[in-house]
Amino acid sequence: MQYQADVTIELKSGMLDPEGTTIKRALEHLGYETENVKTAKKYTIDLQAENIHAARENVEEMCQKLIANPIIHNYFISLREFQ
């Protein structure tokens, strides 16, 4: 089966996000007041797997071994069958 995973990597809460802070300030210059702006990265991964559980396990492993740095990141995986 063909699957597509959207992997979102974000900084753990409490970590400094200088890019988010800069964007928040720029929004203020445009007149938008925000509580907080956080940046995140999204990776879209297409892969083959026997079933959705195997696909999730596989992507989970990729996140732990390479895509995220567990010291500073949280990650979220959203997975769907893909034609």
Partner: protein, 231 residues
């Protein structure tokens, strides 16, 4: 004695380190392309600065997972000295050889300037030629040098005297103003628990000749060379 300098695609301080080791110190040193998998012939390794793999994903993340790093780990486990400078420090944390992570500077800008460092420990293969508490000048050049470790890792580093260098003012005081990137506890460099792996953001190879304005950096390489000769 032979020291290997690992080259990844995007390394750019490799030739400076080679120059310092070969031409200034007169030591046998050699560039090693990252596709080589066996580093057993070397007595020490330098992972130089630069932008390996364009800093894609995270600074040092891709380089840390190349096969040559398995061989670097084996050398480190065997007690041989391994030093990672700037991007090399990022590679060492990403590969798990050193604790913590290096994240974007608190003011997210590339900073290239002289920095004062305080030498915190001298019982390592890289700092034996310094006095404890000595203030030295070695320049920085980075955008991701903000050292972060979780609470338990950080207290472990402090308790085991693994912090090698801190950013200080010219009088040796740890201050926020002297901290160029927001690093916890002004940390500029750390060693592994066995002390034979050093990662540091400042560039000792850029402070190794009189003409460069400081010769403080060369003592790191001299310490390393002496350690290798003695072992």
């Amino acid at each position: 004695m032979s020291i290997g300098i690992v080259q990844f695609g995007g390394s750019n301080c490799d030739l400076d380190v080679l120059h310092v080791l070969k031409d200034v110190l007169g030591v046998d040193a050699e560039l090693v392309w990252y596709k080589e998998e066996n580093l057993k012939r070397f007595d020490g390794i330098v992972i130089p600065g630069g932008f390996s793999y364009g800093d894609y994903l995270r600074a040092g993340a891709i380089a840390a997972r190349t096969p040559i790093m398995n061989s670097v780990k084996e050398l480190a486990e065997a007690g041989k000295p391994v030093i990672g400078i700037c991007n090399g420090f990022q590679v060492l944390t990403e590969s798990g050889l050193l604790e913590g992570a290096l994240t974007t500077n608190n003011y997210p800008k590339f900073r290239c300037e002289p920095a004062f460092l305080r030498v915190e420990i001298t019982d390592t293969p890289f700092t034996s030629k310094f006095r404890k508490g000595e203030v030295v000048s070695i320049p920085i050049a980075h955008m991701e040098g903000n050292f972060y470790a979780d609470e338990s890792a950080l207290s472990g580093l402090e308790d085991n005297d693994q912090v090698a260098f801190r950013y200080v003012d010219k009088n040796g005081k740890v201050t926020d103003e002297a901290n160029p990137n927001g690093s916890q506890e002004n940390i500029a460099g750390i060693v592994s628990i066995k002390r034979n792996v050093l990662g540091m953001m400042p560039h000792p190879e850029r402070a190794s000749e009189e003409i460069l304005g400081s010769k403080d950096g060369i003592r790191i390489f001299e310490s390393m060379v002496e350690f290798i000769s003695d072992h």
